[in-house]
Amino acid sequence: MSDENITAGYLDMDLLRFTTAGSVDDGKSTLIGRLLYDSKNTFEDQMEAVERSSKQRGDENINLALLTDGLRAEREQGITIDVAYRYFATPKRKFIIADTPGHIQYTRNMVTGASTANLAIILVDARLGVIEQTCRHAFIADLLRIRHIVLAVNKMDLVEYSQEAFDKIVDEFKRFASRLDNLVDITAIPISALHGDNVVTKSDKMPWYHGPDLLYHLETVYIGSDHNHVDPRFPVQWVIRPHSDEHHDYRGYAGRVAGGVFKPGDDVVIQPSGFATKIKSIDSFEGPVEEAFAPLSVTVTLEDEIDISRGDMIAKPNNQPHKSQEIDAMICWFSDKTKLALRGKYFLRHTTREVKAIVEEVRYKVNINTLHKIEDDLEFSLNDIGRISLRTSAPLLYDSYRRNRITGSFILIDQHTNETVAAGMIV
């Protein structure tokens, strides 16, 4: 391949973000290490450093987990502290892995990693099958609305590469998944991360398996429709006013399209004011563009001079976001220092808007292993997930999370410590 071809191919790549979920000892770090190593995305000096550390720690084999565990405390204690992001690329795609560790902050970490993922790899140990944690992982993937799931049945070498064992696990998983709303695209792959079977190349040990190997699937799964291109939503992030002679009257609204498609000439409505106008132009540094859609960052100018500021939302007259000060949401509690307080007040951040919110009602918590509602213990502490009602100090302009991940999500911030204490998905 000539240099030009490499360049051209690279410029044509798209981006897949995925998260990995597994219980302790499911071989998650080994799998990630294998993906990075076998796709030739690790460097010699990294591998040498890992070999050196493995030896120093007295590990029997090269410990691929050390590729992902970067902090002193992690290396000393052999644990992963929080979400680590890893990058690799093949000629087809660039990948961002959100590696979410287990231990005490498990749910919090997986929710964080899942919030930006297109795909989740759920690992199960072929000897153990679908266990409580597997259901928990599936529930979180569903809650965060990850469209594509890979059920990676690992350690196939320890069950003699048996089709029967694999089929049984897949059936069990699908039975559980049928109770969840959004888990529709499930691909099950039998692998051995340790030996590399079906990870980046097809294994010859499982001739009964006719599906793709893991990397091929990651490279080819269709993710084009993951953004909402139906409901036009443009949260205003920053107002551009150059105050220069050349652009004396220029007033541009900068932001990142959160949904739908915008074109010059479109009739639009500005919320919360309700003013109607038209899009005059959609600008970029390179000049005007013909259309803008998620996830592009652009600058919009309007036909009329209207008072618009950060936190306002541009939509279309026939397709507008909900506007309300009362919202119902599923939340995951993130703080290990405080608990959710009924009548408690928090800062709420939603798109580019920040308001105050008060907790009006705690409806239920979810036992995420069984999916049962808990209604007799409503105290939310670290990792708890459930449904609450909030009242806000000013209207939110939102869609349901199911319809749009960007306009349907928010975080709660503690007013005293400024910490992010909860992630919310509007029902």
Partner: protein, 305 residues
């Protein structure tokens, strides 16, 4: 054009660009007095280029801040001044020498004196005296293992320290820049970029770079496995022999700690080809990272870039 209009596919560079522009605008919106840390290296050049795009046709709503160790490659300073003039940006230079003269920083002793560590002092002093509440940095998570743990919006306490075990979770594209008086943030718009992405973007956007990144002849010597440039800032040991080599730099830092690689790459395509086949990370040439296994983490906790 017609065939593209309804596919809504966006390639990965466009996605990374869009994300970085979002972060830059978010920084301008959430903070009172941000600054963009500019070193004259390729990552900060790309970041400044993205900032220009983010606020076009207005000028950058924040100044550039250069922490000047005095150990720069002369080419870096020439490039910096031209770049800043072209951008019509405001440049603030904070000199490590001033911190040394004030007695707040002390020059390292020994055979391999580096101002790498003490520039943290100058950086924190510049943040305090200018009352900056957010500093945009070009750090990337793929660079180094401690950096892999960084947030886009990374909180610093009122001593400028990073607490990696107690970071704010970041979900969707919602970023929490709330802080108490005296605290500040470091913001990393290029978090999700790799070295390859940066080079591809430089090519796609035709961004001019300092010529240090391209092949040239230079007198170098070997120290701790790296080719360092012979300059007024280093003293050669008895067994260190100056040699003329054909080299280029993969990263640019101080002359005292930035190693060159032997390379004939004279165009961006050749560099991209080299990056694609490289078997060493780019920071493999940085002596400052090799002082210990957690050298970067330790410096970052103190307030380093």
């Amino acid at each position: 054009m017609d065939s593209q209009i309804h596919s809504y596919q966006v390639n990965h560079l466009k996605q990374l660009e869009s994300e970085a522009i979002f972060i830059l605008r978010e920084t301008a919106a959430q903070f009172d007095k941000p600054a963009l840390l500019f070193s004259g290296g390729k990552d900060s050049i790309v970041m400044a280029h993205l900032a220009r795009k983010a606020f076009h046709p207005a000028r950058l709503p924040f100044p550039l801040l250069h922490i000047d160790t005095g150990h720069n490659f002369p080419e870096t300073l020439t490039y910096r001044d031209e770049f800043v003039a072209d951008l019509k940006a405001r440049l603030i230079v904070a000199l490590v020498q001033d911190s040394i003269d004030r007695g707040t920083a002390r020059e390292e002793k020994g055979p391999n004196p580096s101002r790498n560590a003490i520039q943290t002092v100058t950086l924190l002093e510049a943040i305090e005296s200018n009352q900056f509440d957010a500093c945009l940095g070009g750090g990337r998570r793929d660079e180094e293992k401690a950096r892999a743990k960084e947030r886009f919006f990374s909180h610093r306490d009122d001593f400028g320290q990073w607490d990696p075990k107690n970071q704010r979770p970041e979900l969707w594209n919602i970023f929490n820049g709330r802080k108490h008086h005296g605290e500040h943030f470091r913001v990393f718009p290029l978090s999700n970029w790799t070295e390859m992405d940066v080079w591809q973007y430089i090519k796609a956007e035709k961004i001019p770079l300092p010529n240090l990144y391209f092949t040239h002849e230079r007198v170098v010597f070997k120290r701790a496995g790296a080719w360092l440039a012979v300059s007024e800032f280093v003293t050669l040991g008895e067994d260190e022999e100056p040699l003329k080599k054909t080299v280029r730099f993969r990263t640019i830092g101080d002359m005292t700690c930035t190693g060159a690689v032997e390379s004939e790459a004279s165009t961006l395509d050749e560099i991209i080809q080299e990056v694609a086949t490289a078997r060493q990370t780019e920071r493999g040439t940085r002596a400052d990272d090799k002082r210990s296994e957690t050298a970067m983490e330790d410096r970052k906790k103190e307030g380093y870039f």
